[in-house]
């Protein structure tokens, strides 16, 4: 194990940028305000366990306020009534008119979102720092991928704002009919801590593009960048009340969002257990439609014709299924790679090496840290072989070594539960394709799956046969704003990203009227 520095203060060869936390209050109706209760909670630097800032702690009363603002902004505000793009009326050339229309051109959702994206581009470093100190995200990854990716998502949906098409219908009677796609209303978003920026824009950007107003509850572990984004949105021209951010805890603020009678739509990303609670609360309140992006235990199936190096490099904390013939070679290489992986301060660019570094080596808080260690312990007790790792590292902060288990059985806890840590379970060897499919589908989850093969027939057949929302063939984590992402089975329903995500935030209205004396239908 290459030992990297666990403590951030004494760093060598890299710089820890100055961390400045500007926004710690709730963002409601265009203003940063204290919680009504006056309470605050601390957010800690996972590198050191030290307190970074005290954040206003929103609860039910604050959620009520935020929803009221969002309701007002939706019912009476300009946002849902803006066009995809104001059309300058070309035949009317009064000078007064031109003046007015130039003003109005600015008030258009697509252009405001473009400006929002430009502002994010201007603050990449600052935002990446916030995610690093708040969520332990690798600084370089944040700077090069997560934050530009957030701007990319925004631009994608800015371009989609004027491409929300209804349809004219072919009626079987003498009728003309068409559909209108209308924004659903006030949307509640509950965002997780694993990708604070990416998840935030998974949720917020299509909702805003559709013309909805939103109330976001970021994870209590990672409120900092969410509040910063709210500030940027306001600067870009998003009207007051359209975007509200209320940091707080699930049982108080989160529950209030889920059961609010004035929220028209709820979108949640998080664990399956909490997803169940969220849906229950929605059912018990106003039957608001819910979309859930929940946990997964995604298989990666490595076939015997696969390039082992590539396969090892592709895979992260997915559960493994391997064709017998290459099992041993795969385990050996995976272990070598895990040992080479540098665990350390996320501001250290060297830590960016190795596939493990791409996900959370460092855990966001102590609970999660202890949970992962517990799973490692269970894995060993249930008879899996620990090939490498399995211990905490560093004397400070929440670091865990990359860990690989082999000889994992289908029914072991570490094969069934989502661990959400740097633990790779190399399980069942398989002999046939059918067996691999059957074993891969043998899970409650269906979020994603990876296939590593050179054979086109296997690729096509397996990708259709696995019950999962995304199939990555000879790649993994191939996320793209145009590619919908979301689960089958207990991994949730409703897609993030792509034009599909817009559907979550749109209502369909059919308009029909009889036709008389028409030459065609």
């Amino acid at each position: 194990m290459a030992a990297a520095n666990g403590s951030s203060e004494k760093h060598e060869g890299f710089e820890v940028p100055k961390v400045e936390v500007k926004f710690t209050k709730l963002f409601i109706n265009g203003h940063f305000v204290d919680a009504l209760s006056g309470k605050t909670f601390e957010t800690r630097d996972p590198r050191t366990g030290e307190v970074i800032a005290r954040i206003a702690e929103g609860d039910k009363a604050d959620i009520d306020l935020a929803v009221k603002a969002a309701r007002e902004a939706f019912d009476n505000g300009p946002w849902p009534r803006m066009t995809g793009y104001i059309r300058p009326t070309i035949y009317c050339i009064h000078i007064e008119f031109i003046f007015v229309s130039r003003q109005r051109v600015e008030q258009e959702r697509g252009r405001i979102l473009h400006r929002f994206a430009d502002l994010i581009d201007q603050h990449i470093e600052e935002l990446a720092i916030l995610d690093t100190v708040d969520a332990g995200k690798l600084f370089m990854v944040g700077k090069l991928r997560d934050i530009p990716g957030a701007a990319h998502l925004l631009r994608y949906y800015a371009g989609a704002a004027d491409k929300i098409h209804g349809a004219t219908l072919k009626m079987s009677q003498r009728m003309q009919a068409y559909t209108l796609k209308e924004p659903v209303g006030v949307v509640g978003h509950i965002v997780p801590w694993n990708y604070p920026s990416t998840m935030y824009f998974f949720k917020v950007s299509p909702a805003l593009a559709a013309g909805c107003t939103v109330v976001v509850k970021p994870a209590e572990q990672t409120p900092l960048s969410a509040l910063f984004y709210a500030h940027l949105a306001k600067a870009a021209g998003v009207p007051d009340g359209v975007l509200n951010v209320v940091p707080g805890f699930g049982p108080t603020a989160g529950a209030a969002v889920a059961s609010h009678m004035d929220i028209d739509k709820l979108s949640f990303t998080g664990s399956t257990e909490v997803g169940r609670l969220v849906m229950e609360a929605a059912a018990k309140s106003n039957l608001k439609p819910v979309s859930l992006e929940l946990g997964g235990k995604s298989p990666v199936i490595v076939f015997d014709d696969a390039d082992v190096d590539m396969a090892v490099n592709l895979v992260n904390f997915a559960t493994y299924t391997n064709k017998e013939g290459i099992y041993d070679a795969f385990v050996k290489k995976a272990a070598e790679l895990a040992k080479k992986s540098v665990v350390g301060d996320p501001f250290n660019p060297r830590v960016n090496q190795g596939p493990q570094a791409r996900t959370s080596q460092c855990h966001v808080d102590k609970d999660q840290y202890e949970k992962v260690l517990k799973y490692i312990d269970i894995g060993q007790r249930e008879g899996a072989t620990l090939v490498t790792g399995g211990k905490p590292c560093g004397d400070k902060g929440y670091y865990i070594e990359p860990t690989i288990f082999t000889d994992v059985k289908d029914d072991m806890t570490i094969a069934q539960d989502e661990i959400f840590g740097p633990v790779m379970s190399l399980i069942i060897k398989f002999k046939t394709v059918e067996e691999a499919i059957q074993k891969a589908n043998n899970t409650r989850y269906g979020l994603a799956a990876g296939i590593v093969t050179k054979n086109i027939d296997i690729a096509n057949m397996v990708s259709r046969s696995i019950r999962a929302g995304v199939i990555w063939i000879n790649c993994y984590f191939a996320f793209d704003p145009d590619a919908p992402f979301g689960g089958y089975k207990m991994s949730g329903f409703g897609k993030d990203m792509g034009m599909d995500a817009l559907e979550k935030y749109l209502q369909t209205k059919t308009v029909a009227t009889p036709l008389y004396n028409t030459p065609w239908l």
């Binding site: 059309r87 009326t89 070309i90 009317c92 229309s101 631009r155 499919i437 030459p519």
Partner: protein, 908 residues
């Protein structure tokens, strides 16, 4: 004592000389002028006095310049940029006096000293520049110098007033041509009327040229050497391109007039008058299609002295500018039609006047119009004109014309009444690119040839543009081919292409003003239309298709058997695009934006009438980061460059917007070469149907815009207006009134709704159609003449040519109908099918018509609604394919089905 260090001691105008002159002037004013003085001009006391006065005024000018330089030097510290905006020495002195050491200019009231635009500019400039207060001593000196300048100016004003009143006696004919101020200066500089009379015209032209700062009061440099004559109204009201010609003409005629005056020839000034009209005639010929003219004969008066002096005072009530420089600074363009005068008697039958006389008067008056409107004092109507009298008098008070405006008119009411002596309407844009854009570089044509692109206002050349032909098309296609086959553009991620296009849109917005000015200059469309609507729409189009780049989805198809089938949409390759002149920039955006978003490379041929704006924005696209060879722009003519593009074997796709006739040729060339797919957006004769339940006022307004928008040069112009018989008469009356209120004029002028037609050929064609309409029995209700370019017909039958063929000009035909079925039949009885308008409040009629009309777009209770997302294109002979919206992408995408068997899949 202070002044001694201020001024060089060389030529201060002595106070005694000034006092003396003032005395003599006063004295002379009290005397009566004897018209009967028959002796030599040299013996005329009046004449001597004039010569002296003039010499004095030139001296004063000199001194003002010196004082001005002093003030500028001192005051630069306080307000460094003031002199760059306020050129006039007297204005400058007034402003300096007003500001003093005040640092916050918002506290200074400039009202009456400067035009409001200047006030704003100066106030803003002050806040962004670093001026420092002057020392007490320097401030005192500066203010004293200002006082002195103003003092000198007021003396000069008195002298010039005097001169202007009297010069007409000495040199009535010369005055008739160049105005009294210039006449007196010419006399003074030449050394008297006799000397002037002996001078060759070319020397008269140069009189005063070296001292351009003295009397012109302009620090702007003159492009060619003209002296005092450039201060004449007629010179100033000539477009810059015609000025060399104009100045020679004026010089020649002025010399003639001076000779007549020196021998005391025609004391009435009529000879000068006719000479003046000859200048107008001579220049009028150069105007080509733009013979804007008044319908009355208007002349400069040399009689009515009382009127002159009275009105001069009124004119001088304007506070800014020098009192003596009225002829030199304010100017406009001669061809600006006299909107107000057109309205006076639009029904005047040309036959009331002898034809030749009529035309001559028209040309002269078009040149004169500025003079008349700015200097009502100098003009009155010639008594023998058929149009003289009350109407003419009203022409001199332009404001009154507007009171009769119809209630539903939306014509900007302030326009014709606005002071016409605004800034000279000269496009504020530099022509940067005139070469062909091939492979990322601006290059000359292979042949080295160039052609002129014309200003439709004057018919004069704006610039020489490289003329591409087959060889250049070959070079451009080769570059585009390389960029497509090997270059990064089709291979970069859609998001990267999207970002290049987004940057392009930002750049268009950043340069919007220049682009709009260029577009107006080259195509003659109103600047407000170009700047307020078209340029923003170009940026909008680019953004719209930038957003599509990463959303081009193919379908995954459910196959009948165990097959996996997916559809890929790939860029089609090298796209050849030919765009028209009616909306050069919009058509650029319609064509280029979707092609680039899909990842194609493009060879674009612009219309030879309007090559400039496309070259400009293409350079911006390269600034935004498009790789070389992706967009190539070739200016040139249809039969050479256009045909080469259409028949090129390496062009994968053609898109054309233009006339149906050319569209046929293009389709044929494509068929004969490599069968490249073609999209055509061609002509139309779009019906605009007004039902009896429609809101007539609104319908009139929209029908009016539907046909007259963009000078009628719209492929989708609603040129056949069908009106239900129950509202027909009301509609025609109101339409007539609306058309008469249409503001036609210099497209750079604010409030102008309609500029000139694109070129002489188009102009002649329109007039031929108008004639054909009259010949076949239609009733001409308004216009129909080159004056206002407003055509307006009623009662033609459907078989008439004007109701069947695309006129592409401001000609509206109004037809009567009885029922829905009848109007559907008649509206569809055309080879075209581009667009249609329906005006009705009835839902059922709207639905029926929407489906029954065979046209690519049906606008219900609206017209000309162009949105990036709404597809546009024609049925029948109006074209093939659709542009805009997601449909526009299809033109530039190939569709590829990818099929492979699936073995033992769980589902299909």
């Amino acid at each position: 004592m202070t002044m001694m260090c201020v001024l060089p001691p060389s030529r201060p105008v002595s106070l005694t000389a000034r006092a003396d002159a003032e005395l003599r002037i006063k004295d002379a004013l009290e005397r009566d002028i004897s018209d009967s003085n028959q002796g030599s001009i040299l013996e005329d006391q009046e004449y001597q006095l004039i010569v002296d006065c003039n010499a004095l005024s030139v001296d004063i000018d000199n001194e003002i310049t010196i004082v001005h330089n002093f003030i500028r030097d001192k005051y630069k510290l306080k307000h460094p940029v003031l002199e760059s905006r306020v050129h006039h020495p007297i204005d400058y002195a007034r402003v300096v006096q007003k500001i003093g050491n005040e640092m916050d200019l918002t506290l200074v009231d400039f009202k009456g000293i400067l035009p409001s635009a200047d006030i704003m500019w100066i106030t803003m400039a002050e806040s962004t520049t670093s001026g420092e207060p002057l020392s007490e001593e320097n401030l005192a000196k500066t203010i004293e110098a200002c006082d002195r300048a103003l003092n000198l100016d007021s003396t000069k004003k008195k002298i010039l007033d005097f001169l202007e009143r009297r010069i007409v006696h000495v040199a009535p004919n010369l005055t008739a041509i160049v105005g009294s101020a210039v006449a007196s200066k010419l006399l003074g500089t030449a050394g008297g009327l006799e000397a002037l009379a002996k001078m060759p015209a070319c020397n008269v032209l140069l009189l005063g040229a070296k001292k351009k700062n003295l009397s012109g009061f302009s620090t702007a440099t003159v492009q060619f050497r003209v002296g005092y004559l450039q201060q004449t109204e007629i010179f100033q009201s000539t477009p810059p391109s015609l000025r060399p010609q104009a100045s020679r003409l004026i010089a020649a005629k002025s010399t003639l007039a001076a000779r007549i005056d020196s021998i005391r020839g025609d004391r009435t000034g009529k000879a000068g008058q006719s000479l003046f009209e000859e200048i107008g005639d001579g220049l009028g010929k150069g105007y080509g299609l733009l013979g804007q003219a008044g319908s009355g004969k208007l002349r400069v008066s040399t009689g009515e002295r009382k009127l002159i002096s009275k009105n001069s005072k009124r004119f001088k009530a304007k506070n800014y500018g020098s009192s003596g420089s009225r002829s030199g600074l304010a100017s406009s363009l001669a061809f600006t039609p006299i909107q107000g005068m057109e309205l006076l008697n639009p029904f005047t039958d040309a036959s009331e006047l002898p034809g030749s006389y009529h035309m001559a008067a028209r040309r002269a008056s078009s040149i004169l119009c500025r003079r008349l409107l700015t200097r009502p004092a100098a003009a009155s109507l010639a008594g023998d004109s058929a149009l003289a009298g009350a109407d003419g008098a009203r022409a001199l008070l332009p404001g009154t014309l507007l009171h009769g405006r119809h209630r539903f008119s939306t014509a900007p009411a302030a326009v014709t009444g606005a002071a016409p002596n605004d800034e000279p309407i000269q496009p504020s844009v530099e022509i940067k690119h005139t070469q062909l854009l091939i492979n990322g570089n601006f290059v000359d044509a292979a042949s080295g040839k160039t052609f002129s692109t014309l200003d439709p206002r004057t018919g004069e050349a704006i610039a020489r543009v490289a003329e591409g032909d087959a060889e250049d098309i070959n070079r451009a296609v080769a570059a585009a081919r390389r960029a497509f086959d090997e270059g990064p553009w089709p291979r970069m991620s859609a998001y990267d292409r999207c970002r290049v296009l987004l940057r392009f849109a930002d750049l268009i917005e950043a340069h919007a003003e220049e682009i709009a000015a260029l577009e107006t200059w080259d195509s003659g469309k109103p600047l407000e239309q170009a700047a307020g609507a078209e340029v923003p729409m170009v940026a909008r189009f680019v953004r719209y298709y930038a957003g599509w780049a990463d959303k081009i989805h193919g379908l995954v198809v459910p196959a009948d058997g165990p097959h996996h089938a997916q559809v890929l949409h790939e860029p089609i390759g090298v796209a050849g695009q030919i765009i028209p002149w009616n909306f050069p920039l919009l058509m650029f955006a319609w064509k280029v934006a979707p092609a680039l978003a899909c990842g194609n490379t493009v060879v674009l041929k612009t219309a030879e009438q309007t090559p400039l704006s496309a070259l400009y924005v293409a350079s911006l696209l390269h600034e935004a980061g498009v790789p070389e060879g992706v967009l190539n722009v070739v200016s040139g003519f249809g039969p050479t460059a256009g045909a080469a593009l259409c028949s090129h074997m390496d062009v994968d796709k053609l898109a054309f917007t233009g006339s149906t006739g050319t569209g046929k040729i293009i389709l044929e060339l494509a068929a004969r070469s490599n069968l490249k797919p073609v999209t055509l957006e061609l002509g139309g004769k779009s019906p605009f149907v007004v039902m009896d339940d429609a809101d007539v006022d609104q319908a009139v307004e929209l029908a009016h815009h539907a046909v007259f928008f963009n000078q009628g040069q719209c492929c989708c112009a609603g040129s056949r207006t069908f009106v239900h018989e129950r509202v027909y008469d009301e509609f025609v009356d109101k339409s007539k009134a609306r058309a008469l209120n249409r503001v036609v004029g210099d497209p750079f002028r604010k409030g102008v709704e309609q500029g000139p037609q694109i070129d002489g050929e188009q102009f002649k064609k329109i007039l031929q159609y108008v004639k054909s309409g009259v010949d076949t029995g239609a009733t001409l209700v308004a216009g129909g003449d080159r004056v206002g370019d407003k055509g307006f017909y009623v009662h033609p039958t459907d078989e008439m040519k004007i109701a069947q063929e695309e006129i592409f000009g401001p000609v509206q035909t109004i037809l009567k109908f009885r029922g829905v079925e009848e109007v559907i039949r008649r509206a569809n009885a055309t080879p075209y099918g581009l667009a249609a308008g329906v005006f009705t409040r009835s839902l059922d009629v709207a639905n029926t018509m929407a489906r029954a009309l065979r046209a690519g777009t049906v606008w219900i209770n609206c017209y000309d609604v162009f949105d990036a997302a709404i597809p546009f294109g024609g049925f029948k002979m109006s074209g093939v394919g659709r542009e805009k919206g997601p449909y526009g992408l299809r033109n530039y995408l190939q569709t590829k089905s990818v099929v492979t068997p699936i073995r033992d899949a769980a589902w299909l």
